[in-house]
C-alpha cells in the first residue's frame, strides 16, 4: 500500500493508477488475464448466444438483445441478460460465450466504480472503451482455441465532453471501432445488419430520424428477423412474458424498456396482419 498497504493486514494497493485489474493481480485475486487458461485438446460444448444490436435514434441510442443461450443444438437458457449496464453511462451488449462475457462485465463494473472512488473522478469514456478492448485482448489465448470468444457492443456517453451517446463495436482480438449509425453482433446479426443498412440507405427514414416508439418497434422487428434465420437467437415467448431486452441511453441517462412497453409494441406490430 502506499505505506499502510505494505504493512500487515491491508491489501497491496494500486491506488496510484486506480486500475482494478492491477489491484487484483497484486493481490493474487481471481481475474481475467492472459496466460492463465489451460490449453484444451478438445473444445467443450460451449454455451453461446445471440443477436445483439444497437442504433442511433432521435433520442439517443437504443440497445437490444435476445434472451437465448445455446450449447450446440440445445437451448440452455431462455432468459439470458445480454444487455448489461456497466454503470449509469455505459452499456455493454454481449455476443459469444456468456462465461467469459459475464466475467468481463463484472470486471468492468467493479473497475469503473473502483477508479471513480479511488481517484475521486469518473473514468473517461475513452478509457472505458479501451478497458473493454484490453479485456478482449487478454482473452486472446481462449479465443485462439475457439472457446470463450466474446464480441461485444458498447454504448456510452461522456458526461463532460460528449453528452450524446456513442456506439462502439469490437473484433474478437480487441480492436475497437466507433459505429456511425448502428452496431450489431452475434450469430444472428448478419440478417439484422442487412436490414439496418437497407433502412439507412434506402428507406427514406434512417434510424436516426425515428422516435423512441419507432425505434423499439424496429429493434423488435430486427431481432425477429434474426431469429428466423439463426437458431441461437431467441424469439418472443408471450405466454411466459419473455421479451428481448431493450435499453435506452440518452442525454438524460440510462433506462430499460419495461415488459409492458415491449408487449404493446409487439401487439401493434402484429395488428396489420391479423
Amino acid at each position: 500500500m502506499n505505506s499502510l498497504g505494505s504493512r500487515p493486514g491491508g491489501p497491496e494497493s494500486a491506488s496510484g493508477t486506480g486500475d482494478f485489474t492491477e489491484l487484483l493481480r497484486r493481490n493474487d485475486a481471481p481475474a481475467l488475464r492472459a496466460g492463465d487458461f489451460p490449453r484444451v485438446s478438445a473444445a467443450p460444448v460451449e454455451t453461446h448466444s445471440t443477436t445483439v444490436l444497437s442504433f442511433h435514434y432521435q433520442g439517443g441510442v437504443i440497445i437490444a438483445g435476445d434472451r437465448r443461450a445455446t450449447a450446440g443444438n440445445t437451448v440452455m437458457y431462455d432468459r439470458a441478460d445480454k444487455v448489461i449496464e456497466l454503470d449509469n453511462e455505459t452499456v455493454m451488449a454481449i455476443a459469444g460465450s456468456p462465461a467469459t462475457a459475464f466475467e468481463m462485465a463484472r470486471t468492468l463494473q467493479t473497475s469503473f466504480q473502483y477508479y471513480r472512488r479511488s481517484q475521486l473522478q469518473p473514468l473517461s469514456l475513452s478509457a472505458k472503451v479501451r478497458a473493454l478492448g484490453k479485456l478482449i485482448k487478454d482473452n486472446l489465448p481462449m479465443t485462439l482455441q475457439g472457446v470463450g470468444t466474446v464480441v461485444p457492443i458498447l454504448a456510452a456517453r461522456d458526461l463532460h465532453n460528449q453528452r450524446d451517446p456513442i456506439l462502439f463495436f469490437y473484433d474478437a482480438l480487441g480492436a475497437q471501432f466507433q459505429a456511425v449509425d448502428f452496431a450489431v453482433s452475434g450469430s444472428g446479426s448478419p440478417a439484422a445488419r442487412s436490414v439496418l443498412q437497407w433502412i439507412n440507405r434506402w428507406s427514406g427514414q434512417p434510424t436516426s430520424q425515428r422516435d423512441e416508439k419507432q425505434a423499439v418497434q424496429l429493434a423488435l422487428q430486427l431481432l425477429d428477423v434474426a431469429a428466423e434465420s439463426d437458431t441461437a437467437t431467441g424469439g418472443v415467448d408471450r405466454r411466459s412474458l419473455i421479451y428481448p431486452q431493450v435499453k435506452f441511453l440518452t442525454r438524460d441517462g440510462l433506462r430499460s424498456a419495461p415488459v409492458e412497453m415491449l408487449r404493446e409494441s409487439f401487439a401493434a406490430l402484429e395488428a396489420p396482419h391479423i
Partner: protein, 253 residues
C-alpha cells in the same frame, strides 16, 4: 533501545502523545442513521473529509490528508477485492474494520521508527432498514468500536480532542436525536457537530441541550464555516451507488 520493554512502552506512550497532539485541532465529523439513510456531516475545509468507500459504505475522517488518503485507499481496495471475489453483500463494515483497517492501523502505530499515521474516522454502513445500519469508529492505533441497533439513536461523533467522543459515548442520560425526517436528522447532526466543536475548543462544559435548535444560530456558532455533507441514501439500497451529496435545501441547512 526498544529491546528493553520499558523503553518500548515509553516510545509507544510518546508516540501516542505526539499523535493526539497533532490530531487535537482536527474538526469533528458526525454520522447519524435516519430513515432516509446514513447522514455524514463535517465542517468544510480545503481537503474533503467525507468519502464514498463502496456501494453501501462511507467514511468520515479527520487527521493528516495524506494519512486519511492511505486509510481511505486501504478500505476501498479491500472492499472492491472482496466485492469482486464474492459479492457486494459480502462486503461489510465489520469485516472491513476487523480484518483490514484495524490490523493495518495497529501495525502502523507500533512501528515506532516509522512516521505515525494521523487518522481518526467513522466507517458508516447502510442497511436495508435503519436498524440494520452500523457506525464504526476507528482510531489511529487500530482500536475500534461499533454502534448498531438501538445505540444508533445516539449518533456518532469523532473529533480532534479524543475526549469529545468519549464524553458523547459516556453521556447519561443519553440524548435521543430526532432522526425521522431527513431535515430533522440533519438538524440533529448539526447540533451534535456544534456541540463537538465547542466541547473540543472554547466551551468544554457545554451540554448537548445547550445547543440552539435553529440552523442559522447553529451555523453562527461554527463561525459561519461551510458544511460538508454526504448521504448513504436508503432509497438506493441494493444499487451500486448509494452515496450522494444532498443539497443544502434537502437538508434544510
Amino acid at each position: 533501545m526498544t529491546e528493553e520493554p520499558y523503553r518500548w512502552l515509553e516510545a509507544i506512550q510518546n508516540r501516542r502523545e505526539y499523535i493526539e497532539d497533532q490530531l487535537s485541532p482536527g474538526l469533528p465529523v458526525v454520522a447519524l442513521s435516519c430513515d432516509a439513510g446514513v447522514l455524514l456531516l463535517g465542517i468544510k475545509t480545503s481537503t474533503p473529509k467525507l468519502f464514498e468507500i463502496y456501494d453501501h459504505l462511507a467514511l468520515g475522517s479527520l487527521g493528516h490528508p495524506a494519512d486519511i488518503e492511505k486509510v481511505r485507499q486501504t478500505a476501498i481496495d479491500a472492499a472492491h477485492i472482496e466485492g469482486f471475489a464474492r459479492s457486494a453483500q459480502d462486503v461489510s463494515a465489520r469485516r472491513l474494520v476487523s480484518y483490514n483497517l484495524a490490523p493495518a492501523l495497529k501495525a502502523a502505530f507500533e512501528q515506532i521508527f516509522a512516521a505515525p499515521l494521523l487518522f481518526r474516522g467513522i466507517l458508516a454502513e447502510l442497511g436495508a432498514t435503519p436498524t440494520d445500519d452500523a457506525l464504526w469508529r476507528v482510531d489511529y492505533d487500530g482500536s475500534f468500536s461499533a454502534q448498531n441497533g438501538a445505540e444508533l439513536a445516539h449518533g456518532s461523533v469523532i473529533s480532534g480532542p479524543r475526549q469529545v467522543a468519549k464524553d458523547w459515548v459516556a453521556q447519561t442520560p443519553k440524548s435521543t436525536l430526532d432522526r425521522g425526517e431527513l431535515k430533522a436528522a440533519a438538524l440533529s447532526a448539526l447540533r451534535l457537530l456544534v456541540w463537538a466543536k465547542l466541547r473540543g475548543t472554547k466551551d468544554q462544559g457545554i451540554e448537548f441541550s445547550d445547543t440552539p435548535s435553529d440552523p442559522a444560530a447553529l451555523k453562527e456558532k461554527l463561525g459561519n464555516e461551510g458544511l460538508e455533507f454526504a448521504l448513504l441514501d436508503r432509497s438506493l439500497f441494493g444499487q451500486p451507488i448509494t452515496y450522494r451529496v444532498p443539497t443544502a435545501e434537502e437538508l434544510g441547512l
